[in-house]
Symmetry: C3
C-alpha cells in the first residue's frame, strides 16, 4: 500500500457543529489539503480534562501508526501553559500541557513516549490569537506533521509535563473501591475498576444496592435485569438489560462502586 | 478515475461524540489507513431497529457501488445472533442479523441481494469482546472488505435471515391508513404512505384534524399554513410553513394518518 | 504534491445525524467517489440565514483554494429562488440565493467574487424533488465541480444576487453600539463589534451592566470574573472565566452591547 496522505483526528470540547471545529479543519487542510480528517468527539464536557483522559484511553489505542490526534480541551489557552507534541506507540498527540493525556501515559499499551514542547512558530499561523491556539497553532502543526516534518523541528524535547490525578480504585483485603467514570448513551455505568483488579472479589455494590448478577453480555439476562459485567474496555460496568442503569439506579459519574468478597454479600 | 481507496460509512445508536464510534474508526483505519470514513448517523434512538430501517432506506440508495455501510444497532450483541455481510446493488452492508436492513430488501431499487454470515475470525480483532462486536468484528471486516477481500472469504452464504415487521399502510376502498414514521428537525411529519399508494385519495386526516391544503413545496403557502405534500423520499408529509407541524399538531412518530376520498372531507 | 481528489464541505440546518445529510453525502460520492467530505455544521438553527452568514464568515476564510462549500439552509426550496455557484478567493460556494453568504461578500479577505446561477440540469440528479435541492442539485453539482467542471458550464454568470441585512454596529462620537450575535458552548457572548471599531472606546456595557475588566485571554483573570476581550475572530466578546457569561448575565443572541469612552464609565 502506498503511504496514505495522513490522518488527523480531532477531539474537542467545542460542541457539535461549532465554528471553532470547522475553522480548525480549514487550518489543517490549508497546510495539507490531502489529509484525512476524522472527527472523534466535540462534546467533551467543557474544560473537563478527566473526561478527555478517559476518552483518549478508550480510543487512541485502536488507531494505526502515524495517526495524529489533535486534542483541544484547553481551559488555560493563551496563558503560559505549553503545547505539546507527544509520541505514543508510533502515533502522535498534539495537546495542551494540562494532563489530558495522562491516561495514555499509564496505558498498558504505552510504549516509546517522547514529548516535545511546541515553540517553532514557523509552523504556526502567521498571526496567533490569544484565545484559539487549537486553530492557530495545533491545526497547522498537525498539517505539517502529516507532511513529514519531524517532531524535533517543532520544538525541543522535554522530560517534564503536567500529569492529571485520575481517580484510582483502592484495594483492601476485603474489597475494591472505585467509582463510575462515565455513563454511555444506553445508561450503562462504566467504572474505573479493571477486570484484573477484581480477581476473587465478586459482590458488586453501588448506590446502596447489591447487584445480584454477573453476565458476559447484556443479552444474557431478561429485559429489566440489573447486571454487572466486564465491558469492552475491560472495565466493570453496571447495566440494565434493554434499559438504563443510570436512570434506574439514579446514578452518574462519580458514584462509588465497591466489589467485595462473595461471602460478604 | 483510479480505484478509490474505499468508502466506509457508519450508522450507529452510540450517540454523537461517543468513544465507541471513535474506537470503531480506529479499528477500521488500523486495517486500511487510506479508507474514507463517512459518518451517516450516530443518534439512531438506542436499539431502535425500525428507525434504523427507515434511515437506511432514505440514505443507502444514494451511495455509489462498492460503498461499505457498517450498521451497529445491536441490542443482542454477544448472544447467538449472527453478523451479516449483505450485498445490495453492488454496495455492501455489515450489520447484525436483526432485521435492521429489511427496508432495503423491500426497496424498489433492490437488486442482486446476497447475504453472508460472518464466521472467519481471521478478519476480526485478535481478542473479541462480548459487548462490542461493532469495534471487534464489523470494523476490521469493513477494513478488509475495502481492501478487496471477497465476501465468501468472510463466511458462508446463507438464504435465511431475520426480517423486521415494519408498519405498512392499509388500503381500503375508502381510504389509505398509515402512520407518522419520523419527525425531522423542522417538525415535518414524515409518513409511511407513498405517492403511489395515494392515487385518487386526497383528503388527509391526522390527529383528528383535516389538512386542507396540498402543495408541491413548503414555500407554496403562506407562513403558518398546515400543508400536505409528497416529500423528497416520495412519502406523504405534513408540514407547517416556516413552523413545526409536530409542535402545532402535537404529534410524533406513530401518529395515525389517513388519506380519504376527496368527497369525504 | 499531487492534486487532491477534491474537498467538499457541508453546512446545513438538517440536524446532526439527519438522513438528509447522509443522502447528500451519497449523492456527492455517487459523482466523485474519491472526494473528501468534511462536515462543518448541521445544527444551524432551522432556516436561520443570519446564523449561517456568521458561521461562514468564521470558517470559510481558513480553507484552502479549490475547497467547495455546499450550504443548505433553504427556507424557499422549490420556489423560484435561484441556486448559486459563487467563486470567493479561489474557493467555491454552492448555496441558495437567499443571502446566506453576505458575510463573506463583505469579508476583509474577499477577492475575486464571481456568481453563477445554476441552470444546467445535466449536472443534477435525473429526477429533482421539489423539497430537497441540496440532495438533488447542490450535491451532484459539488461532485462535478470537484471533478473539474468549469462554473460557466453550470449556468450563466450573473451580476445580481440577494443580500442579507446583517446587523451592523452603530458608531457615534460617544459610543459604539452593537449586539451579541451568538453564544458559544462555553457561554461566551460573541458580539458584532470588531477590534477596529472599538478604537479609543473601552467601557463595555451589556444587559444594564458595566463590564469592569479587559483581558487578553480567559486565563488572565480569576475564576468567576466577568471580562471583556477581543476573541479569535477579532470581535468583542464577553466571558466569565471558567464559567458561562450567558448564564451569569442571562443574555443571548440579540442582546445590546455598547462600548463607550472610558471616562463615561
Amino acid at each position: 500500500m502506498t503511504t496514505p496522505a495522513g490522518l488527523v483526528t480531532l477531539t474537542t470540547d467545542f460542541g457539535d457543529g461549532s465554528s471553532y471545529v470547522a475553522a480548525m479543519k480549514g487550518a489543517i487542510l490549508a497546510v495539507n489539503s490531502a489529509v484525512h480528517i476524522i472527527d472523534l468527539c466535540h462534546n467533551i464536557p467543557p474544560q473537563d480534562l478527566t473526561a478527555t483522559a478517559y476518552f483518549l484511553a478508550e480510543t487512541v489505542p485502536f488507531f494505526p501508526p502515524r495517526s495524529i490526534h489533535a486534542v483541544v480541551v484547553d481551559p488555560a489557552v493563551g496563558t503560559e501553559r505549553a503545547l505539546l507534541c507527544i509520541r505514543w506507540n508510533e502515533q502522535w498527540l498534539l495537546a495542551p500541557d494540562n494532563g489530558c493525556w495522562t491516561s495514555l501515559e499509564r496505558h498498558s499499551a504505552a510504549r516509546g513516549i517522547e514529548v516535545y514542547r511546541l515553540s517553532e512558530s514557523k509552523y504556526w499561523a502567521p498571526a496567533v490569537s490569544f484565545t484559539f491556539h487549537g486553530r492557530d497553532i495545533l491545526a497547522p502543526v498537525a498539517g505539517h506533521l502529516s507532511l513529514g516534518v519531524a517532531p524535533d523541528q517543532l520544538g525541543r524535547r522535554v522530560q517534564e509535563w503536567v500529569r492529571l490525578r485520575l481517580p484510582e480504585p483502592e484495594r483492601t483485603s476485603r474489597e475494591v473501591r472505585g467509582e463510575v467514570i462515565r455513563v454511555d448513551r444506553f445508561g450503562n455505568l462504566i467504572t474505573n475498576i479493571t477486570r484484573g483488579a477484581i480477581g476473587d472479589y465478586h459482590s458488586v455494590h453501588v448506590g446502596g444496592r447489591n447487584i445480584p448478577r454477573w453476565v458476559q453480555t447484556y443479552g444474557d439476562a431478561e429485559p429489566g435485569a440489573v447486571v454487572a459485567l466486564i465491558g469492552s474496555c475491560d472495565l466493570l460496568e453496571i447495566a440494565v438489560v434493554q434499559g438504563s442503569a443510570a436512570e434506574r439506579l439514579g446514578l452518574g459519574a462519580g458514584a462509588c462502586v465497591t466489589v467485595g468478597q462473595l461471602e460478604d454479600s
